[in-house]
């Protein structure tokens, strides 16, 4: 890790003032489980680290039947997992959180950090750049070791997968995010937060170097949610594919469905094709399977990751069945 200076502001105004206009200038520290690894691996070398854990209004989980659920960016995975309203109303969030089977990560990992963590692409992590290109500018991923890479949204030059645990379920719930910068706050749908970079200097979301993600807002609404992750290990491990679903039911019939895939594309991948199939249907094994198929209809696997098409399909099916069966 390169040397840096450290500041722990107590207001978001202070925090933003301490950030810079360029990524190299400053990094935001919340739980640190990803940031410090990135810094140790020289993927980032900020001159200043701004610890935002002291920001008073970035914490807290608030549920209100009228306005919905508000999550402060500093809310940890463990706090989410233990919150009575989250537990009873948002099983899909709890399931996503419990996919991180390390208490140590859940205690530090935050909502904001989860949404902003960098890709785990092993070319990126080994210093070959976010877009993993060789000296001639050709992708290392396409002809290389791409078993964990994207099957959707992979037209290039980005082939990594978005690593967020929460993003799929939050997008399924129609979440919005609030960002705070030097010119004040802005709010946008979480779905629009994520972007696929075209150059190495771009990031994976719209957050600017001098902005902070402050909170996540989930609008009120009665949604049945579920998340299903395919992980090889039950101990701490990254999902190979994941799906989160949110269903608005009228009786047994689906009024509205949202299906979002995780770990299969450079961004959380919403699949309207699958959602369409579900509308005005009763979820059965067959319908769930059909939706799963539709979800990966556009998939274009690379040389080694064809299996992820099947995993994503199954994840959608199982998430749907889990959503209507209630339990975990």
């Amino acid at each position: 890790m390169k040397a840096f200076e450290y500041a722990a502001p107590s207001t978001k105004e202070q925090a933003v003032a301490l950030l810079g206009d360029r990524w190299e200038e400053a990094a935001i520290l919340a739980g640190g489980t990803d940031l410090l690894s990135c810094m140790k691996d020289n993927l980032m070398a900020p001159s200043r680290v701004v610890d935002i854990k002291g920001l008073r209004d970035l914490g807290g989980i608030e549920y209100n039947p009228q306005s919905g659920l508000r999550l402060g960016a500093l809310v940890t995975f463990e706090q989410l997992r233990e919150h009575p309203q989250v537990l009873s109303r948002y099983p899909g969030i709890v399931q996503a959180v419990e996919g991180v089977t390390s208490a140590q990560i859940r205690n530090r990992g935050s909502v904001g950090g989860d949404l902003n963590q960098r890709p785990r692409c092993w070319y990126y992590r080994n210093g070959f750049g976010l877009l993993a290109k060789d000296e001639q500018g050709r992708s290392l991923v396409v002809d290389g070791e791409n078993r964990y890479h994207a099957i959707l949204g992979n037209e290039g030059p980005a082939y990594f997968v978005n690593p967020s645990s929460l993003a799929p379920v939050l997008i399924a719930l129609g979440a919005r995010v609030r960002l705070f910068g030097p010119k004040g706050g802005r709010e946008l749908p979480l779905e629009k937060f994520f972007t696929i970079p075209k150059t190495d200097s771009e990031h994976e979301n719209v957050l600017q170097p001098n902005e902070i993600l402050t909170e996540v807002l989930i609008p009120a609404g009665s949604w049945q949610t579920a998340t299903y992750e395919v992980r090889q290990k039950e101990a701490l491990d990254w999902p190979l594919a994941a799906a989160s679903v949110a269903l608005k039911l009228g009786g047994a019939q689906v009024q509205e469905a949202r299906v979002v895939l995780g770990h299969v594309a450079p961004i959380p991948w919403r699949v309207p094709e699958a959602e369409k199939i579900l509308t005005r249907k009763t979820i059965t094994e067959e319908i769930a399977m059909e939706a799963g198929k539709a979800a990966v209809g556009q998939a274009r696997p690379l040389s080694q990751n064809g299996y992820k098409v099947q995993l994503a399909r199954v994840a959608v099916k199982r998430a749907l069945l889990r959503a209507v069966q209630g339990g975990a």
């Binding site: 089977t101 785990r120 080994n126 070959f128 090889q232 039950e234 101990a235 990254w238 064809g306």
Partner: protein, 714 residues
């Protein structure tokens, strides 16, 4: 001279019982100091700049900016310009500074220019290996051609393979070096405290008597920590230059890339049996890599003395970190490459593989009968006959269940070892020898042996190990430690006891031969009323301690002696496969294992549990992923170099084989053998569950799904 035998079975108070690891409290409290934990006065922190290219020539090195950095105490060029580097991560320049952080800054300031050279880092496709292939001589036994073509012969053909896996010791490789004049003390993280001293002496050009090596705890080795290593020498050179102690530990990434691995093996195999299931012929074309040197040939067919064989092996020289001994070198590969085709043969013959193995048990050589008994025991513990089904679980739903079996062997005879046992007038007892406890329970075993021999509780024994000034003992490798050190200790303790008997016999009015040491007393055999407490007895030594040596020459050929060689075991696995995702879960593994006389049942069982878990790791998850484009290992971490966690192991049932005949064979090593079979048992169980062979380890979702797509039952 006493008779050097183990006590009669059934008469022991400690040997064979379940005794707690004596250094357990030190470990659970965090008080145990490993090399990585040492902080010598004024100690500097060393690090290495490593070559980022898999194959390159060093053109120039400029360390000037690093040397200017405040806090940097020494810079040492390990490989000079002109050197051809053969694997990424190889040592180039070592630096020591006052903090680890400054050392890292200094490393960043070093400029090295390389000329990149063509590299090969992948070996699974023989056709792409080109001139890197080094074929061995073909070996033929019997008449394989005739046997494969004989009437009524059933032949299976298949390709099988295991990738390179790393040792991934939790404590990375490294050492602390400290000079005093021309004498150097090394605190290595090592499996051979005594032997490594000589390596340092040679590498540093100092007399052997000037090198002291000290180590109390090592955080895993598994075969990878037996050499001083270039980084060890560099550390000592930094310390010399700086005039201060230096600790240089590898980083995890470096450790994964350069500090050892288990060679891969792939093979195209043909196996034949007559229709009634008599195995007749073997043919194999195998290849694998152990890094730049290519590597050795696996002993296939493993254990089975198949009458007709043709086999050829090719070593592939790759630009990857060199292989090192990895727990039971070559055996896990050979076992997998043999027991999987046998399982496939059983499937083709429509036989239960247990029946096929039992039918051919005579091909297993002198241990055949023991294997037959162990197979029966394992089958009982697994309820094999009740649970077995032909290939492909036909039950509804995506979870398919199946079972697999395998067997293995290992030598494990004790190495040569010398030990000194001292009995002091105050009653204290010291055992001194330069061995090391690499987590296998060596301390516990030595304590038990001495306590048993002297009729004392384990708490009465003080043990000195891990110092090359103590009587020499070998490396802890090849499961040779326990047989060697327990035997030398038994000898030394018996010798010391004899001296004590000589001293105290007159006061009890008997001859020394009439005495025994039991329950903290020296007493007359057959007349327990005539006795002295241990303290009363040792007080008669006056001021002179007893110091007696015991020398174990190595394994002994005859039963009834202290250590012999040759163990085996049978394992069975029960797994579930999610055929929609390809995820494999181990439900249960049964391990039946013989290893001669067991000193401590508790730590012995731990060795087997550990081997099964390590086996689960390499069967399902572990794989060094080399990238041909960049020449780098992409998963040189612990995140994508996957190891099973507590949640991933299932139920493990360990049955130690303790019949009197085996126990009379003396103490034999146990660390390696149980790690041999898991690959085959788990892979065979998966084939049983899903009805198709997944040919390559690890059995990851992509591989399982690919196999299913090619011809599974689902």
């Amino acid at each position: 001279m006493p008779e050097y035998r183990w006590p009669e079975i059934g008469t022991t108070s400690l040997i064979g019982k379940r005794i707690n690891r004596v250094d357990g409290p030190e470990k659970v409290t965090g008080r145990a100091k490993y090399t990585y934990d040492l902080k010598r006065p004024g100690m500097l922190y060393g690090k290495m700049l490593r070559c980022p290219h898999a194959h390159a020539r060093i053109l120039s090195i400029d360390t000037s900016e690093a040397e200017k950095l405040s806090g940097v105490a020494a810079v040492h060029i390990v490989q000079e310009p002109g050197t051809e580097i053969q694997w990424a991560g190889d040592d180039v320049v070592a630096v020591a500074a006052v903090t680890e952080q400054i050392t890292e800054d200094a490393i960043r300031r070093i400029k090295v220019e390389y000329e990149k050279l063509p590299h090969l880092v992948r070996e699974e496709d023989l056709a792409k290996a080109g001139d890197r292939v080094k074929p061995f001589t073909e070996q033929v036994t019997g008449d394989p051609d005739q046997a494969f073509q004989a009437a009524d012969t059933v032949v299976v053909e298949g390709e099988y393979g295991l990738p390179v896996v790393t040792h991934c010791c939790l404590e990375v490789h490294g050492q602390v070096a400290e000079w005093e004049g021309d004498r150097v003390t090394i605190y290595p993280s090592i499996q051979g405290v005594e032997r490594v001293a000589g390596q340092y002496a040679q590498a540093l050009g100092v007399p052997a008597s000037n090198v002291r090596t000290l180590m109390q705890y090592v955080g895993g080795g598994f075969g990878s920590k037996v050499a001083a290593d270039r980084w060890g020498t560099a550390c000592a050179q930094l310390a010399k230059k700086a005039g201060k102690p230096v600790r240089l530990m590898l980083e995890r990434k470096e450790d994964q890339e350069v500090a050892g691995n288990r060679p891969s093996d792939f093979a195209r195999i043909k196996l034949a049996a007559t229709r009634d299931g008599t195995i007749t012929a073997w043919q194999s074309e195998s290849w694998g890599t152990g890094g730049p040197g290519g590597g050795g040939s696996p002993p296939i067919p493993y254990i089975w003395q198949i009458p007709n064989q043709r086999k050829i092996h090719s070593a592939i020289a790759t630009n990857c970190g060199p292989a090192r001994a990895w727990r039971a070198p070559n055996h896990p590969q050979a076992c997998y490459l043999t027991m999987c085709p046998i399982d496939d043969l059983a499937a083709k013959l429509n036989m239960d593989p247990l029946d096929l193995v039992v039918k051919n048990v005579s091909l297993l050589g002198p241990r055949a009968e023991l294997y037959r008994q162990e197979l029966a025991k394992a089958a009982e513990l697994m309820e094999w006959k009740k649970n077995w089904h032909p290939r492909g679980d036909r039950s509804p739903g995506p979870m398919k269940r199946g079972m697999g079996l395998s067997l293995h062997t290992w030598g494990g005879g004790g190495h040569s070892s010398e030990c000194q046992v001292s009995i002091h007038p105050d009653g204290s007892v010291e055992v001194s020898l330069c061995t090391q406890d690499i987590g296998t329970g060596t301390r516990t075993v030595l304590t038990i042996v001495t306590a048993e021999t002297l009729g004392l509780p384990v708490e009465a024994i003080r043990l000195n190990i891990g110092d090359n000034r103590l009587p020499p003992s070998g490396n802890s490798g090849g499961s040779t430690t326990v047989g060697g050190v327990s035997s030398s200790t038994r000898r030394a303790a018996l010798n010391a006891l004899e001296q004590l008997f000589l001293t105290v016999a007159p006061s009890l009015g008997v001859s020394p031969e009439q005495l025994e040491a039991v329950g903290g007393q020296i007493r007359v055999k057959g007349d327990p009323t005539k006795s002295l407490s241990w303290k009363q007895a040792t007080a008669k030594l006056g001021v002179a301690s007893i110091k007696e040596m015991g020398k174990q020459p190595g394994p002994q050929p005859n039963p009834g002696e202290l250590t012999s060689s040759g163990v085996g075991g049978v394992q069975m696995a029960d797994v579930s496969v999610d055929v929609e995702t390809g995820v494999v879960k181990v439900n249960k593994i049964v391990a039946v294992q013989d290893c001669g006389l067991i000193i401590d049942m508790k730590t012995a069982e731990s060795q087997v549990y550990g081997a099964l878990i390590m086996g689960i790791c390499y069967s399902l998850m572990e794989e060094r992923v080399m990238d041909q484009l960049t020449g780098r290992m992409l998963n040189a971490n612990m995140e994508f170099y996957k190891l099973a966690g507590l949640a991933d192991i299932g139920e493990l049932v360990v049955h130690m084989w303790t019949d009197p005949e085996q126990q009379r064979r003396g103490v034999i090593g146990l660390g390696e053998p149980p790690v041999i079979s898991p690959g085959a048992v788990i892979a065979n169980a998966v084939a049983s569950a899903i009805g198709v062979r997944v040919p390559y380890l690890p059995l990851t979702p992509p591989r399982v799904l690919a196999a299913l797509e090619k011809g599974g039952m689902v």
